[in-house]
Structures are given as C-alpha cells and as structure tokens.
Symmetry: C5
Subunit: 100 residues, 5 copies
C-alpha cells in the first residue's frame, strides 16, 4: 500500500456496467521523508475507487492490483486501485510526519 | 486506474485465438497537474483493449493487471490493460482540469 | 499490453519442469512517438514466452502479469510475460508509425 | 521480494472492515550495493502489513501484489504489501552487507 | 521474465511459517545491450526464491508476481519473485551476449 493525497475527482458516464455508482477520486502518491518529517510529492496521479468516504485534500491509504478487488465496493469489478482507509497519523521514531 | 489519451491503434493478424475481434488502441498515460489545471504527458505508451467504444483523441480511464480481465470484453483473455470508461470531466477543488 | 521488438533469444537447460519446450525471446519495449511517427526505445529488456511464432527483429504485442498465463502455451506455467501477437501496423490519426 | 527498512507507522481509524486490527508500518525499499557492501536508499516509501512482529529500524523482507495475501494475517484482505520476515544477514560472496 | 545476476543471499530466522526452508538469493536485474553485446546493470536488487539450485555469480531467469507461485517450491507461499532457470546463453542475431 502507499500513502496518497486526494486531489480531485473524475466523472465518467460511458463506462463498463460494473463501474456504475462507484466514486472515482484522483490521488497523488506521497513519500515519507523520515528526516524532515514531511511528505514528498511523487508528481504522479492515479484514479482510485473510494470505499471509505474520502474527500478532496484528505490523506488516504491506497491498495493496488488484484488486492484492490478485496473490498465490498470493488469485488469483481475492473478496479486496480482503491482507497481502503483515511489516515489519522503517520509517525516516525522521533516525531510525527502527519496528524489529521 | 489512470487517465490516458487515445493516440492511435494497433492492427495484428497473427495472434492468439482469444484475441480475435478485440479492438486494440494505443494509449498515453496522463498525470493531473493540480496547480496548473492541466494534464502532463508521461511520454509512455501502452496498448489497451477497448470495451466502451473509445476513439482517437478521447480521454479515457484505464485499468491494468488481472483486473483488466473483469470486463465482458476481456474475460479469460491474455489482456492486462483495458479502457473501462470515457472521461467526461476531471475536477480539482478550485477548478476544472478537463471537460469533454 | 505494450509494443516491443524481438532482439534475441535465451537458452536455458536447467529450469523448472513446467518451462520445458517453451521458446524464450528477448524483447525491448517501445514507446510510440505520435508527433514524429516513430518508435522510441525504452532501453529496457525482458524475456517473453513466444506463443505466436515470432522471430528476431519483429514488432510484437506483449502481455504481462497473471494475464500472461491466459494462453494455451503458458497456462499454469511460471510465466509473467508472453508474446500474444505479431503487429501488422501501428497507426495514429494523421499517419502510420509502423507497417510490417 | 525486496529488502526494506521499517521507518515508521500509520494509524487509521476509518477503514474497510477487513483491515481492523492490522499493524501498518512504513517501509523504505533498499538496494544492495555489492561492491561497497552497503545498502542504498531508494527514497521511496510504502505501507506494509506486519505479519512477523517487526519494529522501527529493523531490516525486513517484503512481498508485494497478490502474493501479499498468502499469509495468515493478510488472507482475503485488500493488502498488496506485507512483511514476511525479519532479516538476520545479507551476504555477498566476499563479505557481509548487513548483520542484525 | 527478466535476466538477472545472483549477487548474494539473505538469511532470515523470524519469518512466516510458509517460508521455512526456502533459499533466498539477492538478484540484480540486467538489461541486454544489443549493439555492444553486453549486459547493463539496472543498479536495483530484489530477493528471489531459488527453485533450480542457483549460486552466486550465475545468470538466471526471474519470474515475478502471481506467476512466481507457479513452481513446486513456491506454491501457495507469499512469494512474488522466483528463479525459474539458469541461463546457458543469450543470443542476438549477429552474435552472443552471454555464454555460460
């Protein structure tokens, strides 16, 4: 899994039937900088199905690949990226990188 | 999933039987630039099976890996990349990145 | 999937039993340059099982991951990369990138 | 699999039900420098489920993808990254890269 | 699959039960340079389960992902990388890149 920031959303009408009703969010993967206790942007973006009620700006936990189908929201759907949690905090031994 | 632009198509006659009749499109993954509200090209290209009737120049939603086999078009086929939707709009909190 | 050029072959005698009799080719992934109508090399190389009778120098279509096991040649084998077609042509809206 | 260092942890309350009770650690993949007998940081970070009782600073073995669901801790969960072992030593022919 | 060089090994005592008795080798992926007929290092390293009796310095064939579980040694184990063959030779149309 990886940590990401929700940066937006995608609207699509013409899509495969199994995707009907899924909420699609744009997420940007973040790296944890242990020394500076900050997040570093990866400058990349993916589209994830939301299974936990996340919103723009929130820091979330992302699962990819076949494991992305292991939630009630995504079971048997052509989904390879899902938000499985909203992150409360990210901690390193000598401090806090992020707190909601 | 990720956002991509359809840039062309691939024709192949000599192929495995399960691929007969599939439409193969060239797609270029795009990144969302939240600040500029633009897409950035990744300068990469993949070949995806079309399951929604997409055409050249359209902005589409791509699923990869085993999840690419979860559509009626690609079920049990040796396919690891599929177009699952045509994107209407991509939105960030303070604006619109793309609108069809 | 992605487009690749067959650049060579690999010979291996000491291997897992399920790989007996498979033809192993070296392939180099290519990117499609839409503007110049050329292929760009990725300078990477993979080894793919041939399921269509491809030869050195040919431009082929590659499937990766679990989907690489969805051909008769690769079913149940420890194979994560397979050639599923020989490409006849690659086309962009205003021209031809490749023709066999 | 790859070698990684545990650099921190992630706390998440609002998450999919199947993730309840899993310990989430931040890990940083390392490369082995055979000549210098040192680890090189990849400057990337992932979140892994701990299945062996690992702690911050430890050098661990990571499995990704669908194989990450093949432990008792992660079976059927939306997990694509798991710690499957705590590393005692990493050895090259003419020396030791790491010893716990 | 890809070509790699075995550069060392990993020892781990505290691990998930299914990994007991597996031999873990460090491998470095190589790229084939068709023009120079040499291998180029990728400067990366992975840990692979050995299923063919490989040793340090040998050039081997690697399978990743769920396909890495398709050998007798790795079946049902949390393994995403396996050595499936020891390479005898790597050939390009006008010469030999490697011979054991």
């Amino acid at each position: 899994m990886f940590i990401a920031k929700v940066t937006g959303n995608v609207v699509t009408t013409q899509k495969v039937a199994k995707m009907t009703g899924t909420k699609l969010l744009i997420i940007e993967p973040l790296c944890v900088n242990e020394t500076d206790k900050t997040f570093t942007s990866t400058e990349r973006s993916f589209v994830a199905v939301d299974s936990v009620g996340a919103g723009a700006g929130e820091i979330v936990l992302i699962t990819q690949g076949s494991s992305a189908r292991m939630t009630d929201t995504t079971s048997d759907a052509p989904v390879d990226c899902v938000i499985i949690g909203i992150i409360d905090s990210v901690n390193v031994p000598d401090g806090v990188v992020y707190e909601k």
